[in-house]
Symmetry: D3
Subunit: 275 residues, 6 copies
């Protein structure tokens, strides 16, 4: 089995997780074996991930030259998001987060490195308990963290000063697609006048949405929710939901801190090849 | 060990669950062995449950005579709640519920018995997954049911026409104490103009709250949420939250269908001995 | 044809309009010919009108003695509503109203009689244009009136200081059943912090709703909306909608000025025979 | 000048301040010189204060016997309000208050006496700076207090867990008349899900409002706001505003802790002579 | 009479309806007879229609060459709007619309052509009943449609998943001017989290609004509302209202799907000659 | 002492007030004595004022040539703001304003000059009573004005059709930093659907905020609030607060009338040197 095929299999089997990690792996794969067939195969592995498609679009013309630039983009991007986001965290604050986002983790750790004294409230994030990963990682980094069941999110938010979350995709309407529960919590944060930032690489923007195409919301196997789910019980296991731009203070990306509707313009200006 | 002590142990060990079941068991215990000491012991087993305290208050003067009346009260009450509540369910409706409430179960089954065609959306209700019990029981009764993770509650509610939930206690301010998440979902239901009913025996009313006493919100062991919870991670495992009367359409009890602030007056009128 | 039958026919043919007029006519009919059969027949003519049912309940035991008392009740009631309501109208105010309510008319005329200088904004109230009747009657009484199409109601309300409307029924949940559009306008009034009063005889209260029974919302013939309605077009011609108590400042009845949840208690206290 | 006349003058000249102090003084005056003329004179000194009118109503039949009972009522009432209210204050809380209310002061001091550790955010309350009196008195009682200008009230509330305020009058609609700014702050508190309690003697209830009479909102001299107010500048110096019952969690009175619409019923039941 | 004059008369007499049809006719007229006088005359026929003014601006320099391009613009634009909009409609959806918009019609028909199974709820849209035209046209195209009186709009929206409407003008503030009722319904849709799209050619944008100029809201003859309107009754017959950008998910134009504030930037970029 | 130093002292001692006046003075100072040291000194006098920093950035390369252009910028800007803003004021309107803004003053006076008949409601704006300056200046200009204490702002707004305010800084998130109270009043204005405009020179935009930097909110001496503030009383005297873009209809600047998120893009386009 070729190295290209190994990467493809790892992406398909979700051994590689996180939209950016998948995009990076695909870039490396294209550097090994380019061509329209490779491109189609890689896209087919995660048909709903804009970061994957955008990275391939950027690289496919000349993978040898563009591949390293793409990898550098992701590296730089994370550093900038961490820097800009860390400035939002002040001493004494409590930060709320839902699910697990590598960008949010980078922001929180950078703030800690800069000496900010703050604590984090997180949800456990059913069904896959990504909140446990968040809690463990923060605790390991010396950041005080308190975990709540998801239905305790309102109480956790009432006790917080800031809400940070990641993104799986961003549409031309300024909507952010992220873990189920994000919209519910962002609406509650808005009611409490709590600033709400989406921390993400800007390549999550999906340029096709300008033509009316919708991000599909993946419906996953009910067994993920209840292994021994009895016959007759139906389970609606939606992985994501759409967050309205009205309840997002700003998107923190490598392009800076911009409200969603400004972000859309900035990403088009910065990367005209995105289409 | 006396039969009285056996009942006490079962209450303490949570072998007997549900506020009404506990109250019934305490009534039976007092019929076996009355006296101030028995009263104090029984109350001490669940110091925050008004139904237990009210039942003891009703019975303790003359357990032989009043005990059977108390047990009859609970039996009749459930039947009336089922009858009144079932009238709220119409063909084609989707009913949302959170956690597991025997009163809500009685309402849904009665509606099914009357031939209503409806379906139910429920949450799984972490950390103890009482929603699974709800889903299983409804499915067993031939009622179509779809389960969501708790953070999918907003989406489940948007797709529902009615929200039914139970109660652990009701205060003089018209607040209902119920499973964590109930207030969050009731606020969302109100935003969507979805009628929201609390189905409960009226003995859940706590007469001491009129003097400013607050229902304590039990904070349970973090291990219930995460068995292998790592050191350094703090878990806030609140069992309940307070639901404001403004987001409750009415309380359906054996006294009829009343908005929370009317319910308070009706329960005082019906049971003057409640204090 | 007997005089009893003449009245029945007039009620059935909607020659007699308005819930109170119907109730008064039924009282007179019972005074002519009492008995269980007469009672059943009269109720069957308008099965969803509590005022009719309550009046019959009050009278049926002894129509000769109770009939005149019932008629007096309605007379006195209107006078008191007019008096209490008129006190809410101050010089310089603009009052918004929807549809045509004899109680609201009485209030406005009484305020005019007392020398208040105010103007009225009303809707035309499709499909039956009862707003035209309102506008004509007010203009005839020397009260300046401006009429808007129904979809201009938001603009009319923004320009108003008070919203007055009538009632067809009141439930144990404190909901008022009134002309379609009333809930939409009452929610807008609440957003603008505009006081909203329901002016009505208290016999509109439906005592059966305490047992979970719902007021049926009459769906009328589509031809009322579009005489030459083409094949294939469906028309949903709902006559009424339910107004939540949260958006009603108070109900002005012969019993005084009470928030909906207080009104319910007062009406039960004043008329224990209501059940 | 008779002692009766001295009291009258002191009330008129605002040497006696606070609705309850005025009521107490009037009771003492009536004990000195009763009769319809005395009654009319005393009421005329503060025509818009229900506590004064209710106290006179209670006493006037037999001042010798009823006067001491009235004075005792006020004494007992304050103690009970302090007791019930203090139970709402928990360690670590921040309490927001506006203006200066003797009932609120009693609650805060009682909580301090019971060992509660809390702090207070207060406004300065223009134009008469009653907030300074509040701040000084609390600081003197050893309670940490932070004062904000009135336009900083939103920020002060966001940082608070509880909002306590007094009352000048309560209407049959459940509205509380209190210092201008109270409604604005109570709406903000509701948005933040902050419990909001009105602490007051129940004799502030105005029984005439059931007949549609409105509490007049006193408009005071503009010089109170700007001593050297230049010609051409108009000043709208409203002393009070009406707080909707929807944004008040409960009224804490000597009758207990009741939502406004329940309070109205309880006060009528407790004092049937109120009318 | 010249052909130019014939077109002018038809525009003036409203024989030509709809902002785009008027703009197209004006383009044709200019192709027949150009010059400053012709331009001024055409603009004077509909002084408040940006599409007319923008089309003339585009064409007037060289009508022979630019005229056909303008006509092509409108043709292409409608096709693109239909394509982008149709992608928003999914099987099982109910779409709400108000008034009659040719762009919305194109979207709905395109969705039907693509095999989408959906139904439409529409208002009758007083005073001119354009909703009847909408209902008839949709029914003719085989799309199930249900019509409501305007005051039933809230109920129709609660039962819908999407709200589509047209535009008469768009301002630099992102406000859309459209049929009276649109703002009221868009606010209700926002409360229910229902996506709300304005479907329109981008030439409806009015570049003069950037300098603070306001779109005039035409007040039409009261007779349109009530033919036999009696003396003394005033009728406020406003044709349009302004919809705030906060309640519009996106504008679907030939430029793609953009939130209102992004749309404004995109239209300036695409058509720099717009000024 | 050099003239440069005199200007520096005047800025430091707040003899020169208002962000634009300070910027103008700094430009003049740089024209007298340029160089990195002068630049650093001038910025250090008001480290949180973007207008000062932006003006210095514009001028510092060649003060002789650029200085006059900067001064001209401010002159032209005020005239354009006045012109664009005045078009928003219609006969019969009431305009609400808070604090004192030279841009708002210019708009109101221009509207008066154009013959508009309107009146103004203003707050007194504690602690420095800038509202008195506003009231006096407007009254002097023949514009009817009514002043309210700050806590009467809700009532003043309910009686107004438009809310105009100034700006101290504008961030990349579209937030406007302005006098404390502005956010509270802007939220109330939004609830009442009252258009809310920020009138300001666009050089108040802070380009550093795109990198996550926050505008510091100055906390001033408590003595400003209470001269004889007693020991033990803490005073939180925040000068400003952040207004969310969602509650601002548009920013009226020399660049035209733009919603905050569009304004940000326009200012970057117009002044690319801003960074």
């Amino acid at each position: 089995m070729s190295e290209f095929d190994v990467i493809c299999r790892k992406i398909r089997n979700v051994d590689i997780q996180g939209a950016e990690n998948v995009a990076r792996a695909a870039v490396k794969a294209l550097m090994l074996k380019n061509g329209e067939k490779s491109v189609q195969k890689l896209i087919s592995l995660r048909p709903t991930e804009p970061a994957l498609r955008n990275a391939i679009e950027f690289v496919k013309g000349d993978p040898k030259r563009m591949g390293p630039l793409a990898l550098e983009h992701f590296r730089d991007s994370t550093m900038k998001i961490a820097e800009y986001g860390a400035r939002k965290i002040e001493d004494g604050m409590t930060v709320f987060t839902h699910c697990h986002s590598s960008s949010v983790m980078a922001v929180l750790k950078e703030a800690k490195k800069r000496g900010r004294k703050f604590r984090v409230n997180c949800t456990e994030t059913r069904p896959l308990f990504q909140g446990r990963k968040t809690a463990k990682e923060l605790s390991g980094a010396g950041i005080p963290v308190t975990m709540f069941v998801d239905s305790g999110g309102r109480i956790a938010l009432k006790d917080s000063d800031l809400f940070l979350f990641g993104a799986d995709a961003i549409t031309s309407e300024g909507k952010v697609i992220n873990k189920i529960g994000t919209e519910m919590f962002a609406e509650i944060a808005e009611k409490y006048d709590t600033d709400t930032y989406c921390c993400t690489d800007s390549w999550k923007y999906d340029p096709m949405t300008v033509f009316g195409l919708k991000e599909a919301i993946e419906r996953r196997d009910g067994k993920e929710v209840w292994t021994k789910m009895p016959k007759g019980v139906n389970i609606m296991n939606l992985a994501f939901e759409r967050v309205q731009p009205e309840v997002i203070t700003a998107i923190i990306s490598e392009l800076g801190v911009h409200p969603p509707t400004v972000f859309i313009q900035e990403v088009r200006k910065a990367y005209p090849w995105l289409g």
